[in-house]
């Protein structure tokens, strides 16, 4: 099997997500490339959670409507997804809950209770799957051993494996690679750029950044703080950045709304800061655990007054690593806020991580001042970039939220006001050049017909484009917009369709400034595009 998809589901609390992870890790050991999409409602017990695991030889990162293996921890899962079966795989269901159905009935509750604990029924189900698909018992046990309560879990896995039947053979096609989520990848990117302080208030889908970095904190040189609210988050982070720490904050749209004053403060006070905005379906509380790409306009415009910013839009884990790393380096280089606008289906999805991207992880030293006795925090020079000094040395460092003179003292003088506004805007052409220099527009395939896409939509768009013979153009920076590279990518294109997950077609409206857009393919039910959905729109 070169490319198949597994759905594993159950009620919240039944452990379908960890079972999905277990299966992903086992298949990873066989060299298969993994993409896991997590679907869960905003609740702790009950409801219906499932993971879709796309398993392929060539690293396909989108989900399909059809499922090859359906693994049901409960009856509900079976009923909801039975109709999606491709016929290439099989169903394995909890026979303790479902009397009789098509597929393999696995008494997972009985096994788990007999030799382990009832909650280990998910391990039992995984073991059934492993046997059925042709995974060796040894490889399965290697992974089960790393679970919490390994002894009992191993017993459960062994027993279930014995009882199950082998249905397929699975070829070992290569070496395992790290499995990381988008949020983990972006955190690592930030660490490579010297991240020292992370500030956040929990909000799905950004919360796992907080968890991941807090987990590293116990042994490593990164400080993680959870302030009282997002207003506190951004202002505290700016204080830390002023005092010399590479700082980052993370949130979703609602928290970012509260941070808007701080974005503006970073703008005028020229305090570097990286802001991770992981989108979910809005407006307001919206559909909190489901995806959307509807904060693009907001990320580009949040904050009152005129000031510059970077806005990057990664479309998978490697890009999340690279663009967050870049965002931090650029924010400290230009002393402007840098926003990484990611979305739930990257943040919380799991990827077979291509480690070659690590080469792009860099640390750029910011331009430091002499920091001697006299220091103008806002020195006006050719490029509008004043050297940075931090308090604690000889230099007096004066940051200001009011308009100010070069020394940082408040001013209302009309000439000074103009001078400082112009000073900050001198960075604009430099930032634009910088963005054009980098590969901020990716092109996959070729043709007269093209899809333009961004963020997580690129994953399905790329696969659909490949099948339909369309060129796929992905935009990874919206501020500054890589106009030249985008126009180059459009060369020879006669039909242009924009693919994104929002109701208005926010990126499409921006793209219209540069070219004609023939059609928009929009999805806004909170679920990711299925490959077939885009494909149907192209034929």
């Amino acid at each position: 099997m070169e490319d198949f998809q597994i759905l594993i589901g159950g009620a919240a609390g039944q452990g379908s997500k960890s079972a999905g992870r277990l299966i992903a890790r086992v298949l990873n050991r066989y060299g298969y490339k993994i993409y896991v999409y997590e679907d869960y409602p905003s609740l702790i017990r009950g409801g219906h959670n499932f993971s879709l695991i796309r398993v392929s030889k060539d690293n396909k990162r989108s989900i399909k409507r059809q499922v090859d293996f359906l693994l049901a921890l409960n009856k509900d899962t079976l009923e909801r997804h039975r109709d999606k079966l491709s016929g290439r795989g099989c169903i394995i269901y909890n026979a303790d809950e479902v009397d009789e159905a098509e597929g393999i009935g696995a008494p997972i509750e009985t096994i788990a209770t007999e030799v382990g604990k009832k909650i280990m029924q998910n391990t039992a189900l995984c073991a059934y799957f492993c046997k059925a698909v042709g995974i060796s018992e040894g490889v399965m046990k290697e992974v089960v051993e790393t679970l919490p309560a390994p002894d009992k879990n191993l017993k459960v896995a062994e027993k279930a494996y014995q009882k199950a039947e082998k249905e397929n053979d699975l070829e070992d096609i290569g070496d395992p690679v790290p499995l990381v989520t988008g949020n983990e990848a972006l955190s690592l990117g930030a660490l490579e750029a010297g991240l020292e302080n992370y500030f956040a208030y929990p909000m799905t889908p950004s919360t796992s950044i907080l968890h991941f970095l807090a987990g590293l904190e116990t042994e490593c040189d990164v400080q993680v703080m959870q302030p009282e609210n997002e207003v506190g988050v951004i202002n505290t982070a700016l204080g830390a950045a002023y005092a010399g720490r590479r700082s980052m904050v993370g949130t979703s749209g609602g928290g970012f709304a509260l941070m808007a004053e701080g974005v503006s403060l970073a703008g005028i006070s020229e305090t570097p800061i990286v802001i991770i905005e992981s989108q979910r379906a809005g407006p307001a509380s919206g559909v909190p655990t489901y995806n959307a790409q509807s904060d693009l306009n907001f990320a580009l415009n949040a904050g009152h007054g005129d000031f510059l910013r970077f806005v990057f839009t990664p479309g998978d884990a490697e890009e999340a690593f690279y663009l967050t790393n870049l965002a931090m380096n650029l924010s400290w280089k230009y002393q402007v806020p840098a926003i990484v606008l990611i979305d739930k289906d990257i943040s919380e999805s799991t990827f077979s991580f291509d480690q070659s991207v690590l080469e792009k992880g860099e640390y750029w030293e910011e331009s430091r001042g002499e920091c001697g006795k006299h220091y103008d925090r806002y020195e006006d020079n050719e490029f509008g970039i004043s050297p940075l000094c931090y308090p604690g040395k000889e230099a007096t460092v004066r940051n200001n939220s009011y308009e100010h003179n070069e020394y940082g003292t408040t001013t209302e003088d009309p000439d000074e006001v103009v001078k400082m506004q112009d000073k900050r805007m001198k960075k604009k052409p430099l930032m634009e050049e910088e963005i054009e220099r980098l590969e901020m527009v990716k092109v996959f395939g070729e043709g007269k017909k093209a899809l333009v896409t961004w963020g997580s939509s690129k994953m399905a768009a790329k696969e659909a484009g490949k099948k339909a013979g369309w060129k796929v153009i992905q935009i990874m920076s919206f501020a500054p917009f890589p106009e030249k590279r985008f126009k180059n990518a459009l060369e020879g294109v006669e039909e242009l369709v924009v693919v994104e997950e929002n109701r208005l077609g926010q990126a499409a409206e921006i793209i219209k400034r540069y070219t004609e857009v023939d059609r928009k393919v929009l999805k806004y039910d909170g679920r990711p595009f299925y490959e077939e959905e885009i494909l149907n729109e192209l034929n």
Partner: protein, 267 residues
């Protein structure tokens, strides 16, 4: 400019309590050292102190000087960090930051310029204005009860709580020094007259008294004056407690993260 003074024009009203705060601040910073101090301020008349004192500073947004100060102290615990704030600033707009900074015992000093109105926006009632206070937003008199600043700090667990009066500069200097010296979160509420909108000089002079030592029962002492005409006004230190600071508890471990190692653990 290596001197503590700035050449900026001072725009506070004659008789404003802010002058006394500026004077003692400068004196105090000279003692600590200019390059060992950083100050923050919100927005309001009080905040203009930033432009009058030549020292490391971050002139922030309305209500956020405490957040900035917490961030600065976390990033560089060597610095002595003071947040200058108004009653509007930290009892209205930014009260959550004040409460949480006290709760986590962040080692900063918060100076509340307590003039009991929004002065810079030309006289509206704040959280600490007395009931019946006639202002532009309460022409018939404030219908809300005033908030006891010190009680807020106390219930949040502040380890140092004090009050002074800008009309007694010696007491102010002494109290401010104690606040800055304190290891952990310290609050100093400075009662001040607002000559333009709320002249309280003689009221504070007649109704306040200095406590001789830190009271055994700060809760009771803190409630002695109700901010609303009842009770005498105690000045001095109400509470002083030794506890580990937030920054001590959050100290970095000093080991660089190896991304490769983290990734290895993800296989």
């Amino acid at each position: 400019m290596s001197d503590i003074n700035m050449e900026t024009e001072n725009t506070w009203c004659p008789g404003c309590g802010n002058f006394a705060i500026e004077a003692v601040t400068k004196k105090g910073i000279k003692k600590i050292g200019r390059n060992k101090t950083a100050i923050t301020a919100g927005i309001g008349c009080h905040a203009k102190i930033i432009d009058y004192v030549n020292v490391n500073s971050f002139y922030g947004l309305h209500g956020r000087p405490v957040s900035l100060a917490v961030g600065i102290k976390l990033a560089n615990p060597e610095l002595s960090v003071l947040a200058f704030s108004g009653d509007g600033d930290s009892l209205n707009e930014g009260i959550s930051h004040l409460i949480h900074a006290a709760k986590r015992n962040s080692d900063i000093t918060v100076v509340i310029h307590q003039n009991r109105n929004f002065a810079l926006t030309v006289k509206q009632f704040t959280a600490s204005s007395p009931k019946g206070f006639v202002s532009n937003s309460s022409p018939e008199g404030n219908v809300e009860e005033p908030l006891n600043t010190l009680e807020v700090a106390n219930s949040a667990g502040a380890t140092f709580i004090s009050r002074s009066f800008s009309g007694d500069i010696e007491h102010l200097q002494e109290t401010m020094e104690k606040a800055v010296e304190h290891k952990g979160f310290s609050l100093i509420e400075v009662l001040q007259s607002c000559p333009a909108w709320y002249d309280t000089n003689s009221y504070y002079r007649e109704n306040s008294y200095k406590m001789e030592k830190v009271p055994k029962n700060p809760d009771k002492k803190i409630r002695e004056w109700n901010y609303d005409g009842e009770g005498k006004i105690p000045l001095g230190v109400f509470k002083k407690q030794e506890k580990p600071t937030y920054e001590e508890k959050m100290a970095r471990k000093g080991k660089k993260v190896s991304v490769e190692e983290v990734l290895k653990s993800k296989i």
